[in-house]
Symmetry: C2
Subunit: 191 residues, 2 copies
């Protein structure tokens, strides 16, 4: 059991430094010499998570030409990633700092900012598809981006409630019904 798994399973505050040292296999002074303090270790864990388990969304989005197909692929990937048996369910960024004291307000804010950044990136990707004519003019880019964010947060929480991959895949498929269809009149305008 690694520090990542502990934080992923239970969140930031419920995991004690004693559990972290036991998980990593070092003693407290070594942990503080290597990372600084508990919060700094958590930030490193989040960074590592983003580059590995948390990268599926951007990867899926980049793998498709249209943002619609990209989101569809990403939501399906989320259903799979959130329910892998080899690691805790759901998403670390979504679920690790929901219940925090004032002493950890900066950690709460760190993850909140991460989520906001992700939604902003998706919104810009949608806006690009609208200007390129792949999505209808007048499409509510922000609304669609927020909808995807909400679906992801809901899927993460539901995975932590014990939902299986198939259940979340069905949610992903249903969610795509809320998206306007692709406009394929102009396959590629600028390439």
């Amino acid at each position: 059991m690694t520090a990542l798994h502990e934080f992923w399973q239970r969140g930031f505050e419920p995991v004690s430094v004693a559990e972290l040292t036991a998980a990593i296999g070092i003693t407290p002074p070594s942990l503080y010499a290597a990372f600084g303090d508990k919060k700094a270790l958590f930030r490193e864990v989040v960074e590592r998570y983003q580059q590995t388990h948390g990268a599926f969304f951007a990867t899926a989005l980049a793998a498709e030409k249209s943002v619609r197909d990209g989101v569809a692929r990403a939501l399906r990937a989320a259903a799979v990633e959130y329910t892998r048996p080899e690691h805790p369910p759901g998403c670390l960024v979504i679920s690790a700092a929901v219940n925090c004291t004032a002493a950890s307000a900066d950690i709460t804010e760190l993850l909140r900012a991460q989520r906001a950044t992700n939604i902003t990136a998706l919104r810009k990707r949608i806006e690009a598809d609208v200007t390129d004519g792949r999505l209808p003019a007048g499409t509510d880019a922000d609304g669609l981006a927020v909808l995807v964010g909400v679906i992801l947060q809901g899927m993460s929480q539901h995975a932590r409630d014990g939902a299986g991959t198939d259940e979340l895949l069905a949610v992903a498929e249903a969610a795509m019904l809320a998206w306007p269809a692709n406009v394929n009149a102009k396959p590629l305008t600028a390439a």
Copy 2:
């Protein structure tokens, strides 16, 4: 500030007994005489929440003849209730026990069971509409119920991230696009 508001804002574990006694305006011995312990107080708070702030969903569902219209009304109500400025954002049952130690596993399980019960009730309501012919035969009742549960969980989390009423209302409207249309051939079969 009441005990309900404290638990609603930050969750079960981050709220200390000292804060609860300050919020209620009593001393620790009085709190333990009146409620038993912190967990028992929380259970009473949850019960009270369900009968007041948490009742909007069942109320909205019962206010419409078809479950489709009921869910649409309930999701709009959620957007409003989750963002009321006079109380903490989101839903207590969804967000109060996300990050817990093993010592509070029973509290986590209590809220998880509440959520499961709500989804089950909705599923049965959907199944009733399918047998009554208000929804197409072969409708995936469980899938739709889970979808609504996921949307609610996502809306609650997003409200806690600072989303406004309008933003969540747009999510509610978009989510209904994933629902099959009403079948109004038979207005009322058994009434």
